[in-house]
């Protein structure tokens, strides 16, 4: 049984249908890549999977771990083991990055986490991401640069240990070094937690050092091609033109 099963999914924003009949099946620990030109509807799929109320599922079903989650709220989806790294993470004043992560862990698991254990794990993961430890005491994303925001997203992923994570344009706006450290974090997630991934991207830089199981090409709201990791190289060479 697949971990995530998307069946004939149609998604609308207000009255515009953006996604049409999307079917994707992602197994435990698998890494899938969703590529496509700007405006194809890639982020729409991520938001619909995570349950953003602005994105309305008009048809089709989403199963996670065998459960139909189409009508579940985003927090219930997160508790079930889903995660999304946002393209534009929001700034939340009044709560520090560290206490936010700790609160989220407690709310998701319903269990207290030992402070020493939490601090150690946070500090290890921040090191892995070359993320200045001073940021843990700063208000969540407030005044963070683009790169720091993305690192904070990956840090949350590593700390919350989801079974499945959507990375929405995590590489956009990052310089070469930042892409490398963020990839490092993603590899750690693949390796250590056996986590499944849907990586949404319109470039391929972030994929250079990652192993990819499946690639899907999304154009004008439809999946026009699917293949293994080699499809990434093909797109790299020829672009999306032949699918348009």
């Amino acid at each position: 049984m697949a971990l995530l099963e998307i069946k004939d999914l149609c998604v609308a924003v207000e009255d515009n249908e953006i996604l049409k009949d999307i079917s994707i099946s992602i197994g435990k620990g698998e890494t899938h890549v969703l590529m496509g030109p700007n405006g194809a509807g890639k982020s729409t799929l991520g938001n619909a999977l995570m349950g953003n109320p602005s994105y309305r599922v008009t048809k089709g079903r989403i199963f996670f771990n065998g459960l139909d989650i189409k009508d579940e709220s985003p927090d219930r989806r997160a508790k079930a083991g889903m995660f999304m790294s946002f393209q534009n993470p929001l700034e939340i004043p009044g709560i520090s990055l560290s206490s936010f992560i700790r609160n989220a862990i407690i709310l998701q698991t319903g269990q207290k986490i030992k402070l020493t254990e939490f601090r150690k794990s946070l500090s290890d993961n921040m090191k892995l991401l070359s993320f200045d430890s001073a940021y843990k005491d700063r208000d969540l994303n407030v005044g963070f640069s683009g790169g720091e925001k993305k690192k904070a997203e990956i840090l949350q992923m590593l700390m919350l240990k989801p079974k499945f994570a959507i990375l929405d344009e995590t590489d956009s706006g990052l310089d070469v070094d930042a892409v490398r450290t963020v990839s490092e974090g993603i590899r750690e997630y693949q390796k250590q937690k056996d986590g499944a991934l849907l990586i949404i991207t319109h470039s391929t830089r972030i994929l250079d050092s990652l192993s990819v199981d499946r690639t899907h090409i999304l154009v004008k709201g439809r999946i026009v091609a699917s293949g293994d990791g080699s499809l990434v190289d093909e797109v790299n060479l020829n672009g999306f033109e032949k699918y348009m």
Binding site: M50, R76, A78, M84, I92
Partner: protein, 469 residues
């Protein structure tokens, strides 16, 4: 999935909403006549000058009109309000001697614990009179006077009280200042001698227990040259079906190079008309800092004002207002620059939900002589739904071109994207919204002493529960 739905307004406020039978108390009849004013004066053993002042104030009260520019107060009929209710006890200096039901009231509100932990002195007022008063010895030894107004009126500080009482807020100021002048009782008198710094805060707590009553406490604080003080005021009342009235008066005198911080957490019940007047005057180099949290009351008119009389004096006002269902809270601040190089900062946050109305109203006046002064106003409002309202009415009157004045106003709604972001991390909708509101309030909570910051956060959580559904 079943959403948690709570009826907030009455149910969850139970920590404030309990009340005790009012038995064997002395209370005057409802309404306001010369006879009643004289009865209060006699009951309180006023000196002659105070008796005269009360009668003058009554005359002014009868001449003045009810304000017509703010929230509707036609639900308030002074003929139904009892202006004086004396609890059946004299003021105690030891907590053990306070009568059981009154003691229980304050213990449920956490007052004695707070005193033991972090306060230099406490006064607790129940209805019209202070029932408990205690100041730590080390504070008294510094020459600091912290006592109830009645004792101050007849003791060795009588002349000082007479020189200051309702001089800053004269009864002619507005109708409810006049009412206060006629029927005031209870409250605190604080005097800090020159150069004395009181490191730990003094606190007074006002509790109105009686139904259909008014509370008219008077707070008079004099901080002498080079001295420093932090004074905290807390207020609460249980909910009755009849209107209650709070028309207190706070007068603060900040001496040359002195500093006073005045913090308030007001959590009156939601049938209270809170028509309170607070004013401070600063001499040369003096500093006044107001911290103000308004959560309760049915209607509030509250604009603490600072008169920057001395050169280089400075005022800061940091406030938060939270208006829920059935509440119309009109709050803000007033700054009057008179001295040269004076500066003032206003920073307020207001939140409205479930049909509540929150209005920010302020006035900054820079007089002709207040050259090289600076004033900055920043007000932000957050509306949690479509039926709530938020307005800002900032007025500025600048009479010199040698002044630096800034103003920034923001009105916003809680962002759906931010709620989704937090929910995607496993945080339920209610908690996500409470987190955003707490974050919005954070610049104010940071300014409060720890216990009060915790109380404020609890109040926000309380108000946010049931915000959805």
């Amino acid at each position: 999935m079943e959403k948690e739905r709570t009826e907030v307004d009455e149910l969850d406020r139970s920590i404030y909403d309990f009340r005790y039978e009012e038995k064997d108390f002395y209370r005057v009849r409802e309404g306001l006549t010369e006879e009643i004013v004289l009865e209060i004066s006699k009951e309180k053993n006023d000196p002659e000058w105070m008796r005269k002042k009360r009668l003058e104030a009554l005359k002014i009260y009868n001449e003045l009109k009810v304000p017509d520019w703010g929230p509707d107060i036609s639900g308030l009929n002074i003929d139904d309000i009892v202006t004086y209710v004396r609890p059946n006890t004299a003021m105690k200096g030891s907590w053990d001697e306070v009568p059981e039901d009154i003691k229980n009231t304050f213990e449920r509100l956490g007052i004695p614990q707070a005193e033991r932990k972090s306060l230099a002195g406490v006064g607790a007022q129940y209805d019209s009179e202070l029932v408990y008063h205690n100041v730590k010895d080390e504070v008294s030894e510094l020459g600091v006077v912290y006592t109830d107004m009645e004792s101050a009126l007849t003791g060795e500080y009588e002349q000082m009280v007479r020189d200051h009482f309702m001089k800053l807020v004269p009864p002619t100021d507005h109708k409810f200042a006049a009412l206060h002048g006629a029927v005031w009782s209870g409250g605190s008198f604080v005097y800090v001698p020159p150069g004395v710094r009181v490191d730990i805060p003094l606190q007074s707590y006002f509790r109105l227990n009686a139904a259909g009553a008014g509370q008219f406490e008077h707070t008079l604080i004099i901080v002498s040259e080079g001295a420093e003080l932090h004074f905290i005021e807390g207020c609460s009342a249980p909910k009755y079906n009849v209107a209650n009235l709070h028309a207190g008066c706070v007068e603060l005198y900040v001496g040359k190079n002195a500093k006073l911080r005045y913090s308030t957490i007001e959590n009156w019940s939601k049938n209270m008309y809170n028509l309170n007047t607070k004013r401070a005057i600063c001499e040369e180099g003096g500093i006044i800092e107001w911290i103000s949290g308004s959560f309760g009351s049915h209607v509030s008119y509250l604009y603490p004002s600072s008169i920057l009389k001395g050169d280089d004096s400075h005022a800061e006002f940091t406030g938060i207002t939270f208006a829920g269902s059935g509440q119309n809270l009109d709050t803000g601040a007033k700054m009057v620059h008179i001295g040269k190089r004076t500066s003032s900062f206003i920073n307020t946050k207001s939140i409205s939900k479930a049909g509540g109305i929150s209005t920010y109203r302020s006035s900054v006046i820079i007089t002709e002589g207040a050259v090289d002064s600076k004033a900055s106003v920043s007000c932000a409002s957050l509306m949690l739904d479509d039926i709530s309202r938020s307005d800002t009415v900032p007025a500025m009157d600048i009479r010199t071109d040698r002044a630096d004045v800034g103003h920034e106003a923001k009105i916003g709604r809680i962002s759906d994207d931010a709620v989704f972001y937090l929910m995607s991390r496993g945080i339920p909708e209610e908690d996500a919204k409470a987190m955003i509101v707490s974050g919005f309030a954070d610049p104010v909570s940071k300014e409060l002493p720890l216990e009060y910051a915790v109380e404020m956060n609890n109040l926000i959580q309380l108000e946010m529960k049931g915000a959805i559904g």
